[in-house]
Subunit: 321 residues, 2 copies
């Protein structure tokens, strides 16, 4: 029972973390915080029993193997018995899911919300629902996947970029960064996380859809075809145009630099490709839909992104939206 | 042995036809000519032995069942022992295949070439290679597929549009049309087959790629999603713009009329979807590539078609072209 710490305890106590959506990303980063002495509980919808019994078995090519036994395993978010200091939100961002309603029962008055998710605009509904809570926005550059029940494989990378939403740096952000760094993770703390999110979206909005629509191919296959590289370049340029119109201009060499670094990467399967291969819902709305809505509002033409979006909808269940 | 007819025999003799590429389309239309008394030989690359032994077994939902036993079954085109009056070319049109070289050995001095294939510009290499031969261009609006070795299922439709290339109507075209009509096929003879081909391309260049890239979905699935209908509409409008720039303007209601008639059709799988599902090469070059080349030469923007093309290339073997 978690009875050794009460609200208002001094800062030197281990911080409490609740990971909401403990899939591969949440389980991996949550486990790193636990290894540094934080008291980490998790919410898993589907495999709570397995995780409670044996913990997460984590195999990291870079950091070794370990077992992460959460302090608590919940099926739904809750602030009982004690509200977390940090709520780490790592759910998939899917159209029609109300993430604010999901986490509301777990928030204490001083809980810092950390959004570690893909996409543009994923913070806004949370900032709007919880204006009195500190909100940290974080981006993971990581190749990590679920390989079995409560089994996680960290293949490569792992760097985080984080900052306060909509801008700034806070002691809570610095503290979280310091813990991740002690765990072996490169962390960049930025006062302009929204621009960083746009920068990541340049890659994601191009490579994720193209990889799925090309038949669930990896980055090496995408980069092997000159016409496909041109397509990726057009999609990236459209994202840059929307970012600039939205007040977050990216450096002019962004697209070239990303294509060069992708060409140097080992073959990589995008998260959307992994979702498609495993029959999971696609993060179309977070990765493309929100951006297209912004483009339309700002009057920016995004024909490539619109084509991606319309084709990806065919990979989803039929809906009337 | 085919010794009862010589070059220069009177027209009342049964005409000789050689079908080159006797898959579903070639086998079906060739069989209709045979049923009307024409002497039909076929070239099959892969199943010549089965066809020679048992003929094509044809099941037509509209016209009944029959067996089509060709007079000859060849593995490669040849004019021995007697050159055909009509060479019916029904091969797939794939990048890098030299169709002129393929049929050259089968042509006699008076052989009429009939191109019954998908795509824009498929006649030009043949017109250029054989300037002294009459060239008829034909379009099939048919749902026909191979269901097993030498087995063909004609599910629906079947109408032909044909005319002389690049324009006009000839006695040979009228004669061929009359034979197909007697076989139960609706035939439109047109003096402007190239415009008719552009009209068909409006549908093909939109629905074929979208159906494959959407995950091999049928037309009903494509029409069920408003965003996808918008995508199809954009692709069709791009084809209309290229057609107009190429000197073949289509009526302004073309796109609306096609979308309406497609919405009324029973769910239909495009030929490119059937090819993709069966692991066959896709007719990307004939259906999209040639059109994009024309668009670029004419300065017409076709961003949707270019995106389709680049994504479809990922469904093909890696090449360096």
């Amino acid at each position: 029972m978690d009875v050794d710490r009460a609200e208002g305890a001094p800062r030197s106590d281990p911080a409490r973390v609740l990971v909401v959506g403990a899939g591969a990303v949440g389980g991996f980063y949550g486990s790193l915080l636990a290894r540094q002495g934080m008291r980490v509980a998790v919410v898993c919808r589907s495999e709570a029993e397995t995780v409670a019994r044996q913990g997460f078995r984590i195999h990291s090519d870079a950091l070794g193997d370990w077992v992460f036994q959460p302090e608590q395993v919940l099926q739904t978010p809750s602030s009982e018995p004690i509200a977390p200091d940090y709520l780490l939100l790592t759910t998939k961002v899917l159209a029609g899911e109300d993430r604010a309603a999901l986490i509301r029962p777990a928030l204490g008055p001083r809980t810092v919300i950390v959004v570690l998710e893909n996409g543009i605009g994923v913070e806004a509904p949370l900032a709007s629902a919880f204006p009195d809570h500190e909100l940290i926005s974080a981006l993971a550059f990581v190749c990590v996947s679920r390989t079995g029940p409560a089994e996680i494989h960290h293949q490569a990378y792992g760097a985080l970029t984080l900052g306060c939403y909509p801008h700034g740096i806070s002691p809570a952000a610095e503290r979280l960064a310091a813990v991740f760094r002690k765990a072996g993770i490169a962390v960049e703390v930025t006062a302009d996380i929204v621009t960083a999110r746009w920068r990541k979206a340049v890659w994601n909005a191009a490579f994720n859809p193209a990889s799925v629509l090309g038949g669930c191919v990896d980055t090496a296959r995408l980069m092997a075809n000159p016409q496909t590289v041109q397509l990726i370049r057009r999609a990236m340029a459209e994202v840059c145009a929307v970012a600039a119109a939205a007040g977050h201009p990216l450096p002019p060499q962004t697209v070239d630099a990303m294509l060069e670094s992708t060409a140097r990467m080992p073959p990589y399967r995008t998260s959307m490709t992994l979702d498609a291969l495993q029959g999971r819902p696609l993060e179309r709305q977070a990765i493309l839909g929100a951006m297209i809505e912004q483009a339309q509002a700002l009057g920016v033409a995004v024909p490539t992104l619109e084509t991606f979006d319309a084709l990806l909808r065919l990979h989803e269940p039929v809906s009337s939206d």
